[in-house]
């Protein structure tokens, strides 16, 4: 018997022996239902729902809603001009001035050209939610990793959760924007680049914020998160663990600092009050944000 065969035999025997020790809680299904209920409880109501508004009011947080109707907004380019930048088409706002999140997709860069603080190159993928309107906002759910395999694992893990939380608004499929210099695509992509996800329903900025936090809560058991608030299109560097996930939030406000600061408070409050969020997070407000 070769060494490999011996290893395989030992593995099978060990697995079999270990599996045979399994015990099962008699109330397992009850526990599943309890967990499901707890998840539903902690999930914020979407849109401008009364529960969210009431909760925000209790917390003394001013929610900023609405905006000015625009027929079109200029084409937007997200990124710093290096590989992995994302461009958006013209997107209409809604008649009531709500922010319409028109596109969301995984995108990837191999690598971005940026490096981790220790100098190692990072591989980079994420899903981007872009809003339009006077108080336009966008979210980038970013996974950064030191290897394509680690990135892929993060991506696979995130996809069903994004699906779960954003599924109601998405006409589905994750697209990929290939980097300008490379034809490589993120492995877990589920749609071609020319067919990005479209959001069918208008969504307020705050609604997307609650989903961002829900997303964090769903993922928090697995990841250490960094919430980075940056000016649109800016990325001030990777300050995350090798296997981390990050939410970048970019915001453009019509009246500048005050509403921006309110929103920082609001987002911070969401993060602090999301009871599913047990992993410490870092809220970084970059200089160019407000």
């Amino acid at each position: 018997m070769s060494v490999d065969e011996l290893v395989e035999d030992r593995l099978r025997a060990a697995f079999s022996e270990l599996a045979a020790t399994a015990t099962f809680s008699p109330d397992a299904w009850t526990k599943v239902k309890s967990r499901r209920t707890a998840r539903l409880r902690r999930r914020f109501v979407s849109g401008s729902g009364s529960i969210l508004l009431a909760a925000a009011a209790i917390a003394g947080v001013l929610l900023v809603a609405g905006g000015t109707t625009q027929d079109k907004v200029p084409e937007t380019h997200v990124g710093d001009g290096t590989d992995g930048d994302v461009s958006f088409d013209h997107r209409p706002t809604t008649p009531n001035g709500a922010y319409e999140f028109t596109r969301a997709f995984f995108y990837a860069t191999y690598p971005l050209g940026s490096t981790a603080p220790d100098g190692t190159p990072h591989w980079f993928a994420g899903v981007n939610f872009e809003a339009v309107g006077e108080d336009a906002a966008s979210f980038d759910f970013v996974s950064s990793a030191v290897s394509p395999e680690a990135l892929e694992a993060n991506c696979v893990e995130a996809a069903p959760i994004v699906d779960s939380i954003f599924g109601e608004e998405l006409r589905y499929g994750f697209g990929v924007v290939p980097s300008s210099a490379s034809a490589e695509r993120v492995p877990c992509a589920r749609a071609p680049a020319d067919d990005p996800v479209r959001l069918t329903a208008p969504a307020t900025r705050d609604a997307i914020a609650t989903r961002a936090v829900n997303f964090l809560a769903e993922m928090n058991e697995h990841k250490e998160w960094t919430l980075q608030l940056a000016g649109s299109g800016r990325d001030d560097g990777f300050e995350m663990s090798d296997d981390g996930m990050r939410v970048d939030f970019a915001l453009t406000t019509a009246d500048g600092g005050e509403r921006c600061a309110e929103f920082v408070d609001y987002l911070d409050w969401l993060m602090r009050t999301a009871d599913g969020l047990s992993v410490p997070y870092t809220l970084t407000v970059n200089e160019n944000f407000c």
């Binding site: 030992r10 593995l11 060990a14 599996a19 399994a22 015990t23 397992a28 299904w29 499901r36 694992a153």
Partner: protein
């Protein structure tokens, strides 16, 4: 008219029949309710998670959580059995990366492990040193008896990557049997 947008439905990778180690197979037919799937798959999934994590407590915890997550997505999942297996594998991999791994591991010592043979303990200790991806590939190969192609689908990576994970994993495990 532009291209039709993809369906919103979560197109789970087709991982085929959900097979479990003791020869039991979960039917390819979609269970009509999540309760049916629970009846069918809970125990095999706990065993799979136990083999991956080494902890019965953690295994039940992770599998229950996976069922709770699936509860809200039931209507959107075409192949719940395959979805569940991938969820459990991902949850186990994530658990290995999580911060409380060491704490849970400490709880494990003195509990279930004490009934295992020395050889099994040695092998499990060696498995512990593998990366989550390597361990997942090894478990799916030698516990679930999946092919490399099936493992690739379950892990969402190319077959070549699976082959690499298994090869490297076995190379490390050889140290257990070699003097």
């Amino acid at each position: 008219m532009g291209p039709q947008p993809p369906s919103r439905r979560w197109h789970q990778q087709d991982v085929g029949t959900l097979q479990v180690a003791e020869g039991h197979e979960v039917a390819d037919v979609r269970p009509s309710t999540i309760e049916d799937l629970f009846e069918e798959a809970y125990r095999p999934m706990v065993r799979l998670a136990l083999v991956m994590t080494g902890s019965n407590e953690v295994a039940e915890d992770l599998v229950q959580d996976c069922f709770a997550r699936l509860h809200g997505r039931w209507e959107h999942v075409e192949n719940p059995g395959g979805y569940m297996r991938i969820s459990v594998v991902n949850a186990c991999k994530a658990w290995f990366r999580s911060r409380d791994r060491e704490r849970k591991r400490m709880q494990l010592v003195g509990a279930g492990e004490q009934v295992l043979s020395l050889e099994t303990k040695e092998m499990l200790d060696a498995l512990e040193a593998l990366s989550p991806q390597q361990r997942a590939a090894i478990v799916l190969r030698y516990y679930e008896d999946l092919s490399e192609a099936e493992i690739a689908e379950a892990l969402g990576c190319p077959p070549g990557t699976v082959k690499s994970h298994i090869h490297r994993g076995l190379a490390q495990l050889r140290k257990v049997v070699e003097p």
